[in-house]
């Protein structure tokens, strides 16, 4: 299964990427997070939430969505 990963806000600067596709299997959101940190070690320095299919989800949740969003700290308002 292919997943699309989108990077928001300053995560685009850290990774140099706006979005990317992955075909690797990840069992949980946490395992995707760990993989991304191996690719982009600077991600370790920032808190980010992960959403799948437009819902923010926990690292312990199964990864079964196809649209994955990486969300840095919120600063609206």
């Amino acid at each position: 299964m292919e997943i699309k990963v989108r990077y928001f806000g300053q995560l685009q600067e850290i990774t140099g990427v706006k979005e990317a596709s992955f075909t690797l299997p990840f069992d949980t959101i946490g395992s995707l997070r760990a993989h991304l940190i191996t690719i982009y070690p600077d991600l370790k320095n920032i808190n980010f939430k992960i959403a799948q299919d437009n819902k923010i989800d926990s690292d312990l949740s199964d990864l079964n969505g196809t649209l994955i969003d990486l969300l840095p700290p919120f600063s609206g308002g």
Binding site: R6, G9, K49, N54, L71, P73, F74, S75, G77
Partner: protein
């Protein structure tokens, strides 16, 4: 339910005349006795001798609108409100301009005071909106909410 979710985002700054229009629309709602409005304005913060000249906002729009919908529904069920309007800017908003507009109305003042603070705090904490602060020399940093 999906079609009831409103889009809170507008491109660029929110003008004072848009706010006036929104207030004027409520003059036919004669059960209302109290309005409370919060406006977020872009500050020209000074950081290490550099001044913020604008903030560029981006968002995960689908999630932001969904979460805002939940905040809205929770406020309507908790407080006795007649109406509620929420707008947030996307794109560049210059210092002195308004980027955030929350407007609640009720028969009496207590519900508008209590609900507005809660709604504004929730939106700032829970909506995936990202502010990129531009300095006058075009360098930038990422905004962090207090």
């Amino acid at each position: 339910m999906k079609d009831k979710i409103k889009n809170i985002f507008v491109e660029g700054a929110i003008s004072p005349s848009k706010i006036a229009e929104s207030i004027a629309h409520h003059q036919s709602k004669t059960e209302i006795g109290a309005h409370n409005i919060f406006l977020g304005q872009v500050r020209a913060d000074q950081i290490d001798k550099k001044k913020v000249s604008a903030i560029e906002y981006t968002a995960q729009i689908d999630i932001a609108n969904q979460v805002c919908h939940e905040i809205r529904e929770a406020a309507f069920s908790k407080y006795d409100l007649s109406c509620m309007h929420i707008y947030h800017s996307l794109g560049k908003v210059y210092s002195g301009e308004i980027c955030f507009f929350v407007f609640v109305s009720s028969a009496h003042r207590t519900p508008v005071f209590d609900s507005l603070t809660e709604i504004v705090n929730d939106i700032k904490a829970k909506l995936p909106i990202f502010g990129k602060e531009f300095f006058e020399d075009q360098s930038h940093q990422w905004k962090v909410n207090q």
